[in-house]
Symmetry: C2
Subunit: 266 residues, 2 copies
C-alpha cells in the first residue's frame, strides 16, 4: 500500500484507527472455544464488525506464535481475510544482521503478504535496510515506546539528543516517508513536538491510547500533520469490550466511537 492510498482511506473512512488483533485464547468469549480455530473465528467476527471504522489491522505475532503451528495457521487465515484497502501490520519487532533480516522480510512480505512490519532498531541501520527493499511495503521502527522501560535506553541522552531521536534521524537516511513509519507511544503527547522535528511528514503508529491510558486529543494536538500522519492503535480496549455473545457488536460500537472522535480532527 502506498502512502497516498493510506491517506485516501483515512479521508474516505474519516478514521485513522488501527485495531490490534492481540488475540488471546484466555480472553476471547468462551463460546468460541468449541470451534476448530477459535482465534480465527474471533478475528473474523471482529474484522467483519469493525472494518468500516478502521484503516489498519495490526497482528501481534507473539499471540499467534504462543499457539505454535496452529497459531501461524490462524494468522495466515486472518491475514487473507482482511480487505485489500486496509493496511496490514505485522507487529513482530524483528531486526537482525543483514542476511537474517532478509529472511524476516521474506517471511512477512513474501511468504505472508503483510503491508508493514514493526522493527527493533538496536542493531543499527544495516539490520533494518533489507525491509526497505520491497516496493510499497513499510517498515515501522520502534522509536519511543509506551512502556516504563522506555526510560532505560530510549530516553537516555546520546550526545545532545535522546536515543529515540537519534534512531529517528538515523533511520530516515534509509528510507523516505513513503516506506518508513515510527512507533511512538501516546503516554507523553508533548514528546510528539520533538519527534516531528525529525520526522515532519512520517506516519506514526501510536499505541497507548485506551488500555494504556493515553489521550487521543493530546496526541492529535501535538502529533498531527497536514495528512494527519497518525495511526492510532487500540487493541484490548476494542477487541475485549465484551466477552459475551455480543463481543463483535461491542467491539464495533467501540471502534465506531473512536472513529467518530477521530473524524472531528479530519
Amino acid at each position: 500500500m502506498t502512502k497516498q492510498e493510506l491517506i485516501d482511506q483515512i479521508k474516505l473512512k474519516k478514521s485513522f484507527l488501527c485495531i490490534g488483533l492481540d488475540t488471546d485464547l484466555t480472553k476471547i468469549p468462551k463460546h468460541l472455544l468449541a470451534s476448530e480455530d477459535p482465534v480465527f473465528e474471533f478475528n473474523k467476527a471482529i474484522i467483519e464488525a469493525t472494518k468500516d471504522y478502521c484503516v489498519s489491522y495490526k497482528i501481534n505475532t507473539a499471540f499467534y506464535e504462543a499457539e505454535g503451528i496452529s497459531g501461524w495457521q490462524s494468522m495466515d487465515k486472518t491475514l487473507a481475510l482482511i480487505p485489500e484497502n486496509i493496511l496490514t501490520i505485522a507487529d513482530a519487532k524483528r531486526g537482525d544482521i543483514g542476511n537474517t533480516s532478509n529472511m524476516y522480510a521474506k517471511a512477512f512480505f513474501e511468504k505472508m503478504n503483510f503491508d508493514a512490519i514493526t522493527l527493533a532498531p538496536y542493531m543499527g541501520n544495516d539490520s533494518l535496510a533489507p525491509f526497505f527493499e520491497y516496493k510499497n511495503k513499510w517498515g515501522i521502527v520502534l522509536a519511543l515506546t509506551s512502556n516504563a522501560g522506555s526510560a532505560d535506553y530510549e530516553q537516555q541522552m546520546v550526545g545532545n539528543e535522546f536515543l529515540y531521536e537519534r534512531v529517528i534521524s538515523n533511520t530516515c537516511k534509509l528510507a523516505s516517508d513513503e516506506q518508513l513509519m515510527f512507533v511512538v507511544g501516546a503516554t507523553k503527547p508533548q514528546d510528539f513536538v520533538t519527534i516531528r522535528k525529525h520526522a515532519p511528514n512520517h506516519f506514526l503508529l501510536v499505541p497507548g491510547v485506551g488500555a494504556q491510558g493515553g489521550s487521543l486529543a493530546e496526541v492529535v494536538k501535538y502529533g498531527k500533520t497536514n495528512d494527519i500522519g497518525l495511526l492510532i492503535n487500540a487493541s484490548r480496549s476494542v477487541i475485549y469490550v465484551s466477552n459475551g455473545l455480543d463481543f463483535a457488536e461491542a467491539a464495533q460500537a467501540e471502534a465506531k466511537k473512536l472513529s467518530l472522535e477521530m473524524s472531528a480532527y479530519l
Copy 2:
C-alpha cells in the same frame, strides 16, 4: 539447562562450540530438495554428524519463518531431535511490552521447549523480564553485535559509557548469570575486556568467528572466565562447508577442527 550442566558439558566434550542452524533452502545440497522436508533432513544429518563436537545448537528462527508454516514444522521437528544435554537456543531477537513478551516466552519456552532465546533490549528491562520468570531457561541479550550497524547505537556513548555497557549492567539487575547471557560479536576482541568489567561471570554467546572473520584465539584471550564463559557460534562456516553428498561429513570435520582448537583452552 543450568549453568553447571552447561559447564559440565563443556568439560566433558572439551568444546564450547555452538552450531548455528541457519538452514536455507537455496544453500543446502540439491539432492535433499526431493525429500518431503529438506530443511529437517539437512538439520538431522548435520546434528547427527556434529553433536559430539558442540555443546549448543542455535536455531535462527528467521530462516524457518521464511518458509511459513512448513518452516515452523521443520523447526519443531529439529528441536525435538537435539539431545537433551545440548543447549538449544532460539535465535529470535524478541522483545516487546510485558504482556506481549509473556507470549513470546510462552511460545519459545512452553509451546516449544528451547533452553534459551536471544532478546533485543531496546524497549528496556520490563520488556525482557518475562523471559526470566522461567527456571533453568536463559535469556541471551544483545549487547555488542558483529555487524557494522553496531556503531549506530550500541557503540554510542550514554553518559560515560557505551550503550552496550549500559545494556549489560542494567540487564544484570534483572537476572543472575544462572539465567542471563549476552551476545557479543567477535570482531573486536579487545572489547571483551570492557564487557567483562560488567559481566565477569556470565556466559557470552559469540558470533562472528568464521564467516564474519573473528579470531578464536583473540576472543579467548580477552573474553574467557575460569569456567570459559564463552559459547562460540559458527553457522555458515560449519554447515555449508560442502553442498555435495558429503555435506554432513564435511560439517563434522569442520566442527571437530574447531572443537580441537577449543580443547587447547580448557
